[in-house]
Every structure is written in structure tokens, then in C-alpha cells.
């Protein structure tokens, strides 16, 4: 494939098409939608972390004036436990039980019934009138409790090593001979780490408005990372065929992976169907924090062996991840990504998926990879230190490159990891001295990236402009990127390209916005569709000029004779050809649908400076540079935004964010006051360095960029804190009470 090089628009910081609406407050998010006759849905949630549901009596709620419908698990399509039915990465057996508890409630906040009524207050009152007979069961939340031999078992059918267990899945990546590898090592360091569950922290709570007409046709307005995912899940959980569900994507106020599954849509659809009225549901922040997916808490052990010359000879990782109520923690990311930046002969990386009584995890930016990288990159820092090697040099010495076989399987094509290390090393940040109680840490990270199904339609309007329709909710600025690509190919001003996100019934199937896939995949289909349009335009000009289409070239927004031999003709612009279209064969447009391939993994290397207030235990990030191989930055502003956003989230994960549980199993901090995401003033300007090693399998050289930026952060912060205060912390978050207690430790020991 030829990479576009003569760029006018690719690489430009064009204004995002959705910008004005967002800054003026006009953008319509799911909670902004209303319909005549609309009623309100509310969910009754389990107060218990673990309880058998003996019976549910909804009669009093149904009798309450204003109540129009009540649904329970009886109304949701059941997927029996003995047969797995996958939709993307989700198993519908778990999805059907997650949206509505069946025989057991598995976490506080687990839906047990839903009500629709004429007002929110009546719906809430009706929820109180539902009588649920619970047999309360013992519960476990933390991994160590859930894997104890006598732990209460969430899913009795699941067996591990022959016995009922909360270990619901394992994954192993193996390369070489791990025991032999460690025998060759001059130095071996083994450490254990814990991380707490953290929420994606999207500002917009889940919301939807759903109408089901008398003839059974459903329309869904909702905020998600994939209208097709919403349609398919809702179809499977309600029994309405996909052809009868039109899922319209609202503008999305953040997702970060957390909106790749459904919570409300199937319930609102069932309520709308039962009541005959449009049903709106909006979660409170508390519901979001209690019942929607954070990512896993974890417990991991990493052992790395190296030779005196700095060669890593063996690396072993064991990663236990909390799945929450249902199987499916991201062990693939933890076990698969964590050693991927390195060329190591002997690797054993094992993941354990552990269920416990808290909300089911959902994807969060590079799911699992930050957890694995935190442990691995911290141990690497210790190995480098004990070998007296500079940490970036140590990484360079062991860096994966083209031809390296990764433990998770692939042999790497041309990758840009080494370039990120070199760029970090020569960055102005890296050579600036640090001051007192300040320290600098580095860490790297890898994420797989994804391709998959995408569709696009490119239409030329009658006045010679362009409308591009794609099927992915735009979370990170993809509309702007697509406008740049299409304008580049057509040779016109990008403002003449209008990019629209289609709904499920107006654009072809497009997989969800996740896996850092959207610009990679959609620019591929948009490129092919635009090329088809250009061919049509050349054919039209050829017809008018009465020459061969091959003798027409497309340049600067117009058809030209390819060479003087082709004849002497005035160029025909896009506008002119659009005007002539009715007489020359009709409307001009093309659609392309592909299962895109060739999304190569991405690498990043981060530099973090912290300053520690040792009296208060506060670590503050004072300078940060994220270096990443981004393939080709079609819109550098949004690529930088992705890097900065990922770093901000990682700093939160490292320093303050955590789910805190009360002894009764309930989350104690279900809001942004006590679930401490960083605020603006907590962070310095986050610097970025974009390394561009184009992806040879993509027309513009694009690689996914959205997830890698979260992967190295926690290790970079932890390594920086160590350099500042000489103390290593092995548990996240490194919040002030923990840092202060840690700093006090040696003093207390001395005093004893």
C-alpha cells in the first residue's frame, strides 16, 4: 500500500466538527433527549453483596398509581449456564445476569427489578414497594479472600482444579524454558504488588431513552461506545430482532472502555415494550460507581532475571485480577502485554481471573495492561538499579524490535519501541536536573491495538461537497481525523467534508469504539470509499471529455487530463462534476465495508518527575513527558489529547483513586468527592513526544493511540517516588496516608 506523503490536511490541527456544539452546550447527550409521553425508569438494586433471591413480589409496586410497567429477570432472555454465547468479548450468560440478577444477587447495586412510572419520584417509590426475599450469603471482595479454600463461592458450577472455586479462568503465555532462563541469571529480583479497582470515571453517567412502537419497532437513543453493540445486546436480551432496533448514538461524555457494554438499554426496552410509552433512564453518579464496571483490582508477582551485562534472561509474572461478579477480568492484557516491550528468551506469564462480590469489570483503556506493566516496569527499575544501569539504557539493551517473537505469540513487524526510548533519552526533560525531594522515573508500555469491522459511506452532495458517514461513536476526535483523511484524498478544503456518525439502520455494521481501533479502521474504509468516489469522478470526466478514464487524473479537487497526450481540457472540479451528475449517470457515492486487518501494537515510554512532601506524604507530579510511537498522527492535537488523557488517568490510579469498601461490602466512596480523580490543578502540563513510525499495513500509516498512554504511568510514578525518597512502594494508590506511613517505617523500626 502506498502511504500518503504529500499532506495538506493529514497532520493538521483542524477544528473538530463537534467542537462548537460541545463548547456551547448544544451537543445532545443521551440524557438530553425527551419524547412526548415519556416516562421514567428506575432500577431496584440489591443492598447485599451476596444473596440468593428466593422470590420477588412486585404487586404493590404495580398497584401504585403512576406505575406503568415493572420488569424482573423473568422478562430478560435467559442464556443458560451450560453454553457460552459470545458477543465480542462479552459472554451473554454473564450479560443477562449482570443487567438483572437471576437466582443470586452478586454485589451491592446488582439490579433485581426495574420500574417505569410517570415521574422519577413515583418510580423510586415503586422500587421501595417491591418485596424481595433474600437469603443473605457470606461474601468476599478482595482477591485473597475470594481464593481462600473456604471462600463463599459465587458461581457453584465453576470448578478449578476439580473443586468449586472463584478462579473462573486462567491464561498462560510461555516462551523458552523459564527454569533454565533463571539459571543463567546473575541477578534475580522478585516482588509482589497490589492495585485497587479504579473506575473509568467518565463524567457522563449512563443514560438512554427508548421507544417501542405498537408494532414492535424499537428506537434507542443512548450514550455508548458502539450503537451496534447496543443493538445486538438489546436484541439478544429482549428477543427483538436486530432489524427492528434502531440504535442512535448520542454524543458521548466519556467512556474509556466502560461504555462497551450495556446496563440500562435492555431494561428500558422491556419497560417501554410493556408500558407502550417511551422510557428514559439516567443513572445517578452513585449508581455508576456502585454498579458499572471499574477495572480490576489486582495482586501480582513478577520475577526477572538478568545477566551482569544487562541482558534479561528470564521473566515470570503471575497476575490475579478481580473480575467482580462475573468472569471476564482482563488477564489477557495483564499477562500478554507486560513483557511485550522486551526481547526475552524465557518468559512465563500467567493470569488468573477471580470472581468476587463487587460489580463486574468493564474495559478500561488497554484493559489489564497497566496492571501488568506496573509490576513489571517497577521490577525492571530495581533490576537496572542493582546492575548499575541507567534505566532507559537497560530497556534499550533488551528492547523488542522487528522480528522479536513476543511471548503472547506474534513476531513483531517494524515497530517503534526503540524510537520511543531514544526520543525519551534525548528529550529536554530527561536531561534537566531534579531538585531536593524530587525524583524521576521512567517506564514503558505496550498495547495490542485492534482492527475489525468498519463501514463507511462517502457521498458527494449535489453542490459538490462531501458527507462521510461512519459507524463509530467519536470519543477522541475521530470525526476530525476522518475529515482530514477524506479532504486529503479528494484534494479539497477539509471544511467541505462533513463527518456524521450513522445509526444502526443507516450505516453498515461497525464494531464498537474500543481497542484503539477507530481511526485505524475507519480511515481505512473511508480511504477505500473515497478512492471509489474518485474513480467515479474520473470516469465522469472521461465521459464528458470522451477520453479513456485511465487518461484522467484527480488532483487538487478536480479531474485533469493525465498528460498532454490525453488532450487539452479545462479541469473539471468536484462542484462541476456534482452539478453534471444527474445527466452523467446519477448520484456519486460509495460505501465500503471491511473486516480491517493490520492493526499493529503500540509502544510508549514515559518520563515522570515527582516532588514529595515528606511531612504530609503527598507526592505531586511536577513534570511529565509521554513518548509514543503513534504511527501517523492524522490529527496531532487529538493524538496529544489521547496521550495526555491517559497519563492523567494513570496519575490518578497511581496516587489517589481507589474503591474503598465498608465492612458490609458496600462501596464507601461512590462519588467524585471521595473517589479522587485528579483535578486540573493536580497536574502539570503533560508534555508529549509523538514518534511516527508509519504502520506499513495502513494507507495513512495509522496505529491505534488511545490506550497505550495509560499503560506505563503507574510504574513511572512509582519509580519516580522511589528516586525522590529512596523508598519503594508496592501497592497502589500511593496516597498520602500510605506514603507517610511508608516513610515513617524505618524510623519506627529504629526506635523499637
Amino acid at each position: 500500500m502506498n502511504i500518503v506523503v504529500n499532506n495538506k490536511w493529514i497532520g493538521q490541527r483542524t477544528i473538530r466538527p463537534d467542537g462548537v456544539d460541545k463548547v456551547t452546550g448544544r451537543a445532545a447527550f443521551a440524557a438530553d433527549t425527551t419524547m412526548p409521553g415519556m416516562i421514567w425508569g428506575k432500577v431496584l438494586r440489591s443492598p447485599h453483596p451476596h444473596a440468593r433471591i428466593r422470590s420477588i413480589d412486585t404487586s404493590k409496586a404495580e398497584a401504585l398509581p403512576g406505575v406503568k410497567a415493572v420488569v424482573t429477570s423473568r422478562d430478560v432472555v435467559d442464556f443458560p449456564l451450560d453454553k457460552s454465547v459470545m458477543l465480542g468479548i462479552q459472554d451473554m450468560r454473564w450479560m443477562c445476569r449482570n443487567v438483572m440478577a437471576r437466582d443470586k444477587a452478586l454485589f451491592p447495586g446488582h439490579p433485581v427489578a426495574a420500574v417505569a412510572a410517570t415521574t422519577e419520584a413515583i418510580a423510586a417509590k415503586a422500587c421501595e414497594l417491591i418485596e424481595v426475599d433474600y437469603e443473605v450469603l457470606p461474601f468476599s471482595i478482595e482477591i485473597e479472600d475470594a481464593i481462600k479454600p473456604d471462600a463463599p463461592i459465587l458461581h457453584e458450577f465453576n470448578k478449578f482444579e476439580g473443586k468449586p472455586s472463584n478462579i473462573v479462568g486462567t491464561l498462560e503465555h510461555k516462551k523458552g524454558d523459564i527454569d533454565e532462563g533463571f539459571k543463567q541469571a546473575d541477578i534475580i529480583i522478585e516482588r509482589s504488588f497490589t492495585t485497587r479497582p479504579v473506575h473509568q470515571g467518565y463524567i457522563e453517567p449512563h443514560a438512554c431513552l427508548i421507544s417501542v412502537t405498537a408494532d414492535g419497532k424499537a428506537t434507542i437513543w443512548s450514550s455508548s461506545q458502539g450503537q451496534f453493540m447496543v443493538r445486538a445486546m438489546t436484541s439478544m436480551l429482549t428477543g427483538i430482532p436486530q432489524s427492528d432496533i434502531r440504535a442512535i448514538p448520542a454524543e458521548i461524555g466519556g467512556g474509556f472502555g466502560g461504555k462497551t457494554i450495556v446496563y440500562l438499554e435492555p431494561l428500558a426496552t422491556l419497560l417501554a415494550k410493556k408500558s407502550g410509552r417511551p422510557v428514559k433512564m439516567v443513572m445517578t453518579r452513585e449508581e455508576v460507581m456502585r454498579a458499572t464496571g471499574p477495572t480490576s483490582g489486582s495482586k501480582s508477582t513478577v520475577k526477572i532475571g538478568a545477566k551482569k551485562d544487562g541482558t534479561i534472561v528470564a521473566a515470570q509474572g503471575t497476575f490475579y485480577l478481580q473480575a467482580g461478579a462475573f468472569p471476564g477480568s482482563p488477564i489477557r492484557g495483564a499477562a500478554g502485554c507486560s513483557f511485550a516491550p522486551y526481547d526475552i528468551a524465557n518468559v512465563l506469564s500467567v493470569g488468573y481471573d477471580v470472581c468476587s462480590n463487587r460489580s463486574k469489570v468493564a474495559a478500561y483503556r488497554a484493559p489489564g495492561a497497566p496492571i501488568g506493566a506496573y509490576a513489571v516496569e517497577c521490577v525492571l527499575d530495581e533490576v537496572a538499579e542493582s546492575l548499575n544501569m541507567e534505566p532507559l539504557e537497560f530497556r534499550l539493551k533488551n528492547a523488542a524490535r522487528q522480528g522479536t517473537k513476543a511471548a503472547h505469540g506474534p513476531v513483531f513487524p517494524r515497530i517503534g519501541y526503540i524510537e520511543t526510548l531514544e526520543a525519551a533519552k534525548t528529550s529536554p526533560h530527561y536531561s534537566t536536573p531534579t531538585g531536593k525531594l524530587q525524583g524521576r522515573g521512567v517506564a514503558s508500555g505496550f498495547w495490542f491495538n485492534a482492527g475489525g469491522e468498519s463501514s463507511a459511506q462517502v457521498n458527494i452532495t449535489e453542490d459538490g461537497n462531501v458527507v462521510v458517514t461512519t459507524g463509530h461513536p467519536d470519543i477522541g476526535g475521530s470525526r476530525a481525523g476522518i475529515a482530514n483523511v477524506c479532504a486529503e484524498l479528494l484534494g479539497i478544503d477539509y471544511r467541505r467534508v462533513s463527518v456524521i456518525i450513522g445509526d444502526t439502520q443507516t450505516v453498515g455494521f461497525s464494531n464498537l469504539t474500543g481497542g484503539s481501533r477507530v481511526l485505524f479502521a475507519s480511515s481505512m474504509v473511508v480511504t477505500q470509499a473515497t478512492e471509489k468516489v474518485i474513480n467515479t469522478l474520473r470516469e465522469r470526466a472521461a465521459k464528458i471529455w470522451e477520453i479513456d478514464p485511465e487518461a484522467v487524473k484527480w488532483e487538487n479537487g478536480a479531474a485533469h487530463p493525465a498528460s498532454p497526450n490525453a488532450g487539452q481540457f479545462e479541469p473539471l472540479t468536484l462542484e462541476q462534476l456534482a452539478e453534471k451528475a444527474p445527466m452523467q449517470g446519477g448520484p456519486i457515492g460509495a460505501g465500503v465495508q471491511l473486516n480491517t486487518q493490520g492493526a499493529d501494537g503500540g509502544f510508549g515510554t514515559h518520563i515522570c518527575d515527582v516532588e514529595v512532601d515528606i511531612e504530609l506524604g503527598i507526592a505531586r507530579v511536577i513534570r511529565y513527558t509521554a513518548v509514543q510511537d503513534v504511527g501517523r498522527a492524522v490529527h496531532p492535537g487529538y493524538v496529544e489529547g489521547q496521550l495526555q488523557g491517559g497519563v492523567a488517568q494513570g496519575i490518578g490510579w497511581a496516587l489517589n483513586e481507589e474503591y474503598i469498601y465498608r465492612s458490609d461490602g458496600k462501596v464507601d466512596n461512590p462519588g467524585f468527592l471521595d473517589y479522587r480523580m485528579p483535578v486540573c490543578s493536580d497536574l502539570p502540563m503533560l508534555d508529549t513526544i509523538l514518534v511516527e513510525v508509519p504502520n506499513p499495513k495502513h494507507p495513512q500509516g495509522v496505529k491505534g493511540v488511545g490506550e497505550v498512554p495509560l499503560v506505563p504511568v503507574m510504574a513511572a510514578v512509582a519509580n519516580a517516588i522511589y528516586r525522590a525518597v529512596g523508598k519503594r512502594f508496592y501497592a497502589l494508590p500511593m496516597s498520602p496516608p500510605k506514603v507517610l506511613a511508608g516513610l515513617d517505617e524505618p524510623v519506627q523500626q529504629a526506635a523499637e
Partner: protein
């Protein structure tokens, strides 16, 4: 569903009348930045809301002839910040009031609401205690005065009697060589709730501390006046020994809880650290630095 009645009287007498008549179901609304949050969460469901922002006495800031200050209980933080002199004389009180929330919250939130909300972590309260502020309250049986430290009774409860409304704060005149300061420990840099808060007001004469008051927040069920800490400072040149003694007095006064915001050990330790840092800032201000 409950219906809520809302009144916004122009005079204090009307407000007291309406408030007292409605009994325990009524709530005063100043900025509403606590009240509305509590209503939304279902923690309070008032039958009557008495908005006091239309009452002149409750929204005025006045410099008194003796050099003291009087400002209405409902004065928003942003208005106090705009007063030409207040922040020069009471920089610590002002910084404490202005720490509440964000720019948006500052447009509404009042020191009166902060005090009457009776959170042990309210930011303005330790600074007001340190300043020696007195509040005037008015109820069905007339007016009375209370020291700020005597207003909170327990988390979420005050010593105001039924029907009593906090009218204004009075801050005493400042002798030359005085300064005050407020610091809080929060894990973030803003939009957070104090894990420990410390207010200090002091007067220096020829380098010697002649007067001091210390207020501590978030380390006990109510904000505390820590007299032993002040005693440790008075008569000293704020040397290390005095600062350590005052820090230890603060730690000794702590009766905190372990919760999601901090541990007993952490809060106790930090109370002493903040005391020292706050004294240093107050002393610099007293010396006109």
C-alpha cells in the same frame, strides 16, 4: 413525593417568623451548596425553604469604627474577597472562606452556611475560631451572641435553638503586628474535603508572640479551639521548641476517626505538621512580610 414551599423574605423578622412557625421541617437556604446537595441525595427533605439572601443584614460586609469587621452570615465567598480591606486585615479568614469549592461554588457559598452545616471539616470554621469571631443569632425570643467554637454541637448539628438564624459574624479589631493563616491537608489540590484544617491567628511584639489562637478542623466531631497550643506559642519567639510544643498540643487535642478520608494516625500526625506551617505563615503576615 413531598411538596416544598419556598419563601425569600426581605426582613429578618419575617424570616425568623416563617422559620420558627414551620418547625423542624424548615431549612434555611444561604448559598445552598450544602443544602441542595443534601436534598438531592435524599438526606434532607424540607417542607419549607427560607432563603435568607434577600435580607440586607445577612448580605452586608461592614468595617466597624473600632477597626473590627461585621459580615452577614449569607455573604458569598466571592463577595468577601472583593471587599477592599477585609482580606488585608484577615487574610487567613479570607483564604479559608475562599478555599471552599470552586469559582462557581464561591459565587454562592457562605461562611454562615459553612458553620451551620456543622461539618467537622468545614474550612472557614477553624480560621474563624482562630480569629476569635463571634456570631449574632436571632430567634423567636430575640438576639444573642455565641463564640464560633460554641456553634457546632456534633457532626451536622448546631447549638442554635429552634427558629434561630445566624445573622452575622463579628471579628475583633486587630492590634498592630497581627496576622492569621489557614492551611488544610487535602490529597488533591482543590475540590476536596479537609483531612485536617488548621487556623492560626497571632500578634507579635518585638518578635515575641503576645496573643495567639489556634483552631483545628476535621480531627474531632466539631472544629476545636486548641488553647494549649496557643499557650505554647504565647510568650515565645516562635522558636522550634515552642512550635514543637504547640504541634504536640494540637496532636493531643485530636480525637479523629478512621475513615475513607484519613486514618487516626495520619490525621493526628498531620495536625502538628499543619500547625507549624500555619504559624509560620501567620507570623510572616504579622511582620508584614
Amino acid at each position: 413525593m413531598t411538596d416544598i414551599r419556598y419563601v425569600a423574605p426581605q426582613t429578618l423578622d419575617e424570616a425568623v417568623g416563617a422559620y420558627a412557625a414551620a418547625g423542624s421541617a424548615a431549612r434555611i437556604l444561604a448559598g445552598g451548596t450544602d443544602l441542595l446537595v443534601q436534598m438531592r441525595s435524599g438526606a434532607v427533605q424540607p417542607g419549607l425553604i427560607v432563603d435568607i439572601k434577600k435580607i440586607k443584614e445577612l448580605t452586608a460586609v461592614e468595617e466597624l469604627s473600632d477597626g473590627g469587621f461585621r459580615f452577614g452570615a449569607a455573604v458569598p465567598g466571592a463577595v468577601l474577597a472583593e471587599h477592599p480591606h477585609f482580606g488585608k486585615i484577615w487574610p487567613g479568614v479570607l483564604e479559608a472562606v475562599n478555599l471552599i469549592g470552586s469559582t462557581q461554588v464561591q459565587g454562592r457559598a457562605s461562611a454562615g452556611g459553612n458553620l451551620c452545616n456543622a461539618s467537622p471539616a468545614g474550612d472557614s470554621v477553624p480560621a474563624m475560631i482562630a480569629a476569635g469571631a463571634v456570631v449574632t443569632v436571632q430567634g423567636p425570643s430575640g438576639r444573642r451572641e455565641l463564640k464560633v467554637e460554641d456553634v457546632p454541637a456534633a457532626p451536622g448539628r448546631t447549638n442554635l435553638k429552634p427558629g434561630e438564624i445566624l445573622v452575622f459574624f463579628t471579628l475583633p479589631p486587630r492590634p498592630p503586628g497581627s496576622g492569621d493563616a489557614y492551611l488544610r491537608m487535602i490529597p488533591r489540590t482543590e475540590m476536596d474535603i479537609a483531612v485536617v484544617g488548621c487556623g492560626v491567628s497571632l500578634t507579635l511584639k518585638d518578635g515575641v508572640c503576645t496573643h495567639a489562637r489556634v483552631g483545628l478542623g476535621a480531627v474531632a466531631p466539631t472544629a476545636l479551639l486548641v488553647a494549649p497550643a496557643a499557650q505554647a506559642l504565647i510568650g515565645s519567639r516562635l522558636d522550634d521548641a515552642a512550635l514543637n510544643a504547640a504541634a504536640n498540643a494540637c496532636r493531643a487535642a485530636c480525637r479523629p476517626i478512621d475513615d475513607k478520608r484519613g486514618t487516626i494516625a495520619y490525621r493526628t500526625q498531620i495536625a502538628g505538621v499543619l500547625l507549624k506551617r500555619t504559624v509560620k505563615i501567620a507570623a510572616e503576615r504579622a511582620q508584614g512580610k
